[in-house]
């Protein structure tokens, strides 16, 4: 019989410690599938953030570097510049990338570093227990916005894909979701493209993936799917914000 589904080689056999229903598992899986399908595992370096994504250190079957909080794009710059044959990607959450690491991501994107950024945006700080992130929705309750995010004092959700797409250097900037099977398939193709661009030496690609956090959102996993549909997608529209390939064709 033909084997049509198996655990990707880019992941080890550990049992995931992500919370039940957390989409990190899905995003990690489809990324690992892409790495397998492109046949690049043995030369890939995963640069991990600080946040829930750091747990990836327990699951990726890849060479890895764990960064200081927010600094993954700077660390990845160092790795890729001295080892250009390595395939380098960062895997960062929204606190890591959009708050403390805002400077590092903007400047790596602006330099057009030839690597891939996976930005997992679940609108909250998961690892530290559910504080407000730059991407928290207006009105969303967190442990540091008990009355809901108030734009008068807390500002509005930051749209990183749109911000980065304004820069000249990036070659591919897109936002996907993974709360339906169709969205998962699209996200996987976006991740594939972001890696392929690097393999082709084209430059900086960023894929933002809208995710959930059942634990700190205080919802059952199934309810987070409709929450994303009804609320997150209204604030963070899906789409390709920049694709140099299409601009040129």
């Amino acid at each position: 019989m033909e084997k049509i589904y198996t655990r990707p080689n880019a992941l080890n056999k550990s049992v995931s410690g992500y919370c039940p229903g957390c989409m990190h598992s899905t995003i990690t899986k489809i990324t690992a599938q892409v790495i397998d399908e492109l046949g690049i595992g043995e030369r890939t370096v995963c640069v991990l953030p600080v946040g829930c994504g750091t747990l990836g250190a327990l699951y990726w079957n890849l060479d890895m570097v764990i960064s200081a909080h927010g600094r993954a794009p700077a660390v990845a710059t160092g790795v890729k510049r001295v080892s250009p044959d390595s395939v380098v990607f960062t895997y960062q959450g929204d606190g890591d990338l959009a708050s403390i690491g805002l400077s590092e991501i903007m400047h790596a994107a602006n330099r057009g570093e030839n690597y891939t950024v996976l930005f997992i945006n679940n609108s909250i700080y998961g690892m530290t227990g559910g504080q407000m992130a730059p991407t928290t929705l207006v009105g969303q309750k967190t442990t540091t916005t008990p009355g809901g995010r108030n734009p008068d004092t807390d500002g509005f959700p930051m749209k990183m894909a749109e911000l980065i797409a304004q820069l000249t250097s990036p070659v591919y900037v897109a936002r996907f979701a993974v709360n339906t099977p169709a969205y998962i398939n699209k996200a996987k193709e976006g991740i594939r493209k972001a890696f392929q661009n690097q393999l082709d030496g084209k430059g900086f690609s960023l894929v933002e993936i809208l995710s959930n956090c059942p634990t700190t959102w205080g919802m059952s996993p199934i309810d987070t799917l409709s929450y994303i549909n009804d609320n997150t997608l209204a604030e963070f529209p899906l789409g390709v914000f920049k694709d140099r390939e299409e601009e040129q064709s």
């Binding site: 595992g41 890849l62 660390v75 990845a76 710059t77 160092g78 790795v79 001295v82 080892s83």
Partner: protein
């Protein structure tokens, strides 16, 4: 060997390249801009990489990445910039990544001034970031010494799997002196532990600056402590100048050290038996050089620093163990210590008897 007339920052940069450094990231700050500028010209010529980081924080983390991928890497900055880099220095030490950090020290605290000072002694020797790590920290007194120590710094970084700090004061970074440069080292193969993709290795490499468990973190700390302990036995560097019969012994490093040397010569011309203990490593500190002083002969130790309040004096006290009185001659704010102030102070002490 051919001597070249070079500026301090440029001599350090050129030596780093000769020592095998192939990655530099830095952010502009006075008084060390000649170092990144030199690297931006010179590194690409040898197939190396220069990146102007968007901040000190980014720069040191680029060094972390380059070092994690097995390339000898360095960054440089000056006092306020080193504070920003301290996060990254701690991570380099936590992950035990070979690297060099150069702090061309200016006056502080805060913005301070851009002029030479030695206000970063504690930071450079004891607490260059959170978490209680140590580095070997060199404090050159001449440009030739800066060259020799830069070369040695990379050897020690590789030997120990640890960052090394070179902390010349701004004066050493800015002056020009003739130097003899070392030969170019052959660039070694990428080490087995580097994160570049597992390839044919058969196992993955994970570069991290923390333990996965309490037990692992304690093991990491214990292993580092053993290394630091070994330095105190094997890697202390100190110059003792005319201390064999000295009654007045200066304790000074870097620019203060070279000024004290002139003071020793002049005082000896005037018949006063002066000497100098000049630490070349401030971590590990040469405690024994002070401990071994004959307290029946040495009347005073005079701690000379371009830092107010004095900082190295704390280590000098630990070495002296209360057996010899300690006086100070200090300046700060970017004022260079004057030989005349040192001589005046010593002569006053002589008069007191």
């Amino acid at each position: 060997m051919e001597q070249i007339f070079m500026k301090g920052c440029e001599a350090i940069a050129e030596t780093a390249i000769r020592a095998g450094c192939r990655f530099f990231a830095g952010y502009p700050i006075t008084p060390q801009n000649e170092m990144p500028e030199y690297m931006s010209r010179a590194l690409p010529r040898v197939g190396g990489t220069f990146v102007q980081g968007e901040s000190e924080v980014a720069s040191v983390n680029m060094v972390y990445g380059a070092a994690a991928a097995g390339t000898l890497a360095m960054t440089s900055s000056s006092s306020p910039g080193i504070s920003l880099k301290s996060e990254g220095i701690s991570h380099l030490a936590g992950a035990r990544l070979p690297s060099l950090i150069v702090n061309v020290m200016r006056a502080g605290p805060g913005m301070g001034t851009i002029q030479p000072a030695q206000n970063d002694y504690f930071q450079a020797s004891k607490a260059s970031g959170h978490g209680g790590f140590r580095t070997i920290t060199f404090v050159p007194g001449t440009l030739q010494e800066a060259v020799d120590l830069t070369y040695l710094a990379f050897e020690y970084a590789v030997r120990d799997h640890n960052p090394v700090i070179l902390a010349p004061d701004g004066f050493i970074g800015a002056i020009m002196e003739p130097v003899t440069l070392p030969d170019f080292k052959e660039i070694p193969e990428t080490p087995d532990w580097a994160a570049i993709g597992y390839g044919k290795r058969g196992h993955i490499n994970l570069i991290k600056s923390g333990g996965a468990t309490e037990a692992e973190q304690q093991e990491i700390n214990e292993s580092a402590a053993k290394l630091y302990e070994r330095w105190t036995r094997e890697d202390v560097m100190v110059e003792a100048y005319h201390t064999e019969d000295a009654e007045y012994v200066f304790a000074a490093y870097g620019t203060s050290g070279r000024i004290c040397k002139s003071a020793v010569d002049e005082l000896r011309d005037r018949g006063i038996k002066a000497g100098l203990i000049r630490p070349i490593t401030i971590s590990p500190f040469p405690y024994n050089a002070f401990k071994n002083l004959d307290d029946t002969r040495v009347k005073y130790i005079i701690d000379v620093e371009m830092a107010i309040p004095a900082q190295m004096i704390e280590d000098v006290k630990m070495g002296v163990e209360g057996k010899i009185p300690i006086e100070t001659v200090l300046s700060s704010g970017g004022n260079i210590i004057r030989t005349s102030d040192i001589i005046q102070k010593t002569e006053a002490l002589v008069k007191e008897g």
